[in-house]
Every structure is written in C-alpha cells, then in structure tokens.
Amino acid sequence: MSNKTISDPAPTAISESFECESLKNTDAASSECLTRTVRKNDLLNHPWFLILIRIALGGIFLYAGATKIINPQAFADSISTFQMLPPQFINLIALGLPPFEVILGIQLLLGWKLRAGLLAALLLALVFVMAIGQGIARGLPIDCGCFGSSEPSVLSAWFSFGRAFLLAVASAWAFSRADRA
C-alpha cells in the first residue's frame, strides 16, 4: 500500500481512521492501523467481491429451489411446522417459492437485472429470518425446509436462523453496492 493511499483513505474509512489516530501510540503503530483499515475497505470495494457474493447467493438460491421443487409435499409439511399460514396458502407457497428461487438463482448467477435480483434475495432472506424467529420465540420445533426437509427441532431452527441472518446481511450489503454502481 502506498503512502498516498494511507494519507488519503476512502470516505467509508474515515471514522475508523479517527479511531486509529486516537490510539495516541507511536507514529508507526498509527500508520499500521490506518493501512489495515484502508486494505479492508479496498477489499470490500473491490468489484470481484461483489461478483463473489452475487455468485454465492445465486448458487444458494438455485440449490435451495431445486431441492424443494423435487418434493413439494415435503416442503409444504415443512412450512406447516412454522404454524404461520392457513392451509389455503401453504400449498401455494410450496408450489410457487421453489421455482421463484430457481429463477432468482439463475438471475444472480448471470448478473441479469442484478439490482432487482438482490432486492428479491434481501426480501426473501428477511421473510425467512422473521418466519424462523417467530417459531423460535414460540418454542416450535421447526423444520426450515430450506434445502429439503429434515426432522423438526428447536436446535436446527437456531441453525437455520443464523444461516438466514447471514443471507440477509450478505444480500443487504450486495444490494447497497449494486445500488451505488
């Protein structure tokens, strides 16, 4: 990293650079801290990082949709464990969501209509977080059904919640970057 980059950090790193200056240590330590901050922001701003996240999200949605399309009855049973929807809606979701995830996955992999795709990924991930969260709060043994059905349990619900939360964070970050682009 050149001295010019260190003395002229990206705007998003300004608050962190203040933290570095407030260290009140030696000049060398402060400079090293600032270099780390700028390198971190360089990585996050790198166009390949957005592509990587986009491909990862696309792969996840494509795989999730494909596993659910195979057995919609098992997915409907998984949805019913959430105890959120009346029977009239469960099968409609079980039939409609998997193809939507496949379309979304392909769209993200290809990078076509990227902003809309990332918005859909974000909205879906938020719905997953809320659905699993309400199940955990009610102490329901949930089968997330995210990648095919499994045995419902509270422990697996926590695991699914963490996974959906990470998905939401990654989607939100990618959407914010795609929006700037």
């Binding site: 919609p72 009855q73 949805i79 009239q88 079980a94 039939l95 193809p99 939507f100 918005l119 045995e151």
Partner: protein
C-alpha cells in the same frame, strides 16, 4: 431512486407470478399432484386408511381364536431388542421407503407414513394374516411423529396389539445393534 425501486418491485411481482404458474403446471405432471389446500400428515394418512378400509373385510371376521400377549404402548431399547431377537411379531418401519432401503432393523417391513397406502398394500398379506399379532413400529428418532401416526392408522384398520419403539432408528444404530439393508 423511488422510480427504479418501483420498477424492480413490479419486475419481481411478474417473476413471482411466473414462478407460481410454473409450479402449478409442474404440479399437474406429478404422480400425486399437491392439492390446492394443504392436508396435514395425519389427514393424508386418514384418507389412505379410509381408502384401504373400504377394500378390506371387517376386522371381526379375521380374529383368531387365541389372542397373543398384549404389548405395552411403548417399548424401550432393551424390550425392543428382546422382541426382535425372540421373533415375537412383525416389526414395521414408518420412515420413508428410501431410508428403509438404506438400512433397517433386521426383519422389519416398510410401512412408510408418507406413502402409507402403497406400503400397506405391499405387505397386506403379512399384516392381515392375523390382526391380533404383535406389531412394533419405529421411525427415525424419539422426536419423529411417523410411528405414532402409523400406529393410529393401524388401530383404525383393526390392529389393536401395536406398540412403538420410542428411540427409533437413531437409538438402535447408536447402540450398535445389527442392521439390514435392501439388496
């Protein structure tokens, strides 16, 4: 910004509608299409039981003269092991058929909850030879409900001497008990 967000949402709405239509069309080509309104596992099983019971003779006509010992409602691992070793009756595997094929308790027959009607028809002769014979049902683990649902369905079909091995396949394999798999 708002205009582009609106156009994104309209596009997503179109995608969602297309996906739903695709799902509905695909559903029509399945062997057993999903009905429009969801039926719980218990309701689907009850439907299967109703269809089966319409085609079988009344239970009273097949009762044997001497009744075997009545099983308790639930069996522990030790009790179940003794039942298996002593060959005291039929063992029924309520897990999906694919799991039965991969591995099951020696001598167990597949009576899958998720495909009850087909499984029942497959082992009908063995089951209906004696409606009072001891039947022990198991599923994946202590937390699965398949064994309980199959037990209720069998009771509705006139099988009264039934019991559940509570620990299921998970406890059986953890105890390093013998396994059998399909050829």
């Amino acid at each position: 910004m708002l205009t582009s967000l609106r156009s994104d949402l309209i596009y997503l709405w179109l995608c969602a509608t297309t996906a739903l239509c695709m799902g509905m069309v695909l559903n029509q080509f399945r062997d057993t299409p999903l009905p429009w309104i969801y039926q719980s596992k218990a309701e689907r099983l009850q439907d299967s039981v109703n269809r089966i019971s319409a085609n079988i003779p009344a239970p009273a006509t097949t009762l044997p003269a001497t009744l075997p010992a009545t099983l308790p409602e639930k069996l522990s691992l030790q009790e179940f092991s003794a039942f298996v070793d002593g060959n005291q009756g039929l063992i029924l595997d309520a897990r999906p058929e694919i799991f039965h094929r991969l591995g099951h308790v020696p001598g167990a027959l597949s009576l899958a909850r998720d495909d009850f009607e087909k499984s029942y028809t497959g082992i009908k002769s063995q089951l209906e030879s004696n409606r009072e014979q001891p039947l022990v049902i198991y599923c994946a683990s202590a937390s699965c409900e398949d064994a309980e649902l199959v037990k209720k369905s069998l009771a509705a079909l006139g099988f009264t001497n039934t019991s559940i091995f509570v620990g299921g396949w998970s406890e059986w394999t953890k105890a390093n008990k013998p396994e059998e798999s399909a050829q």
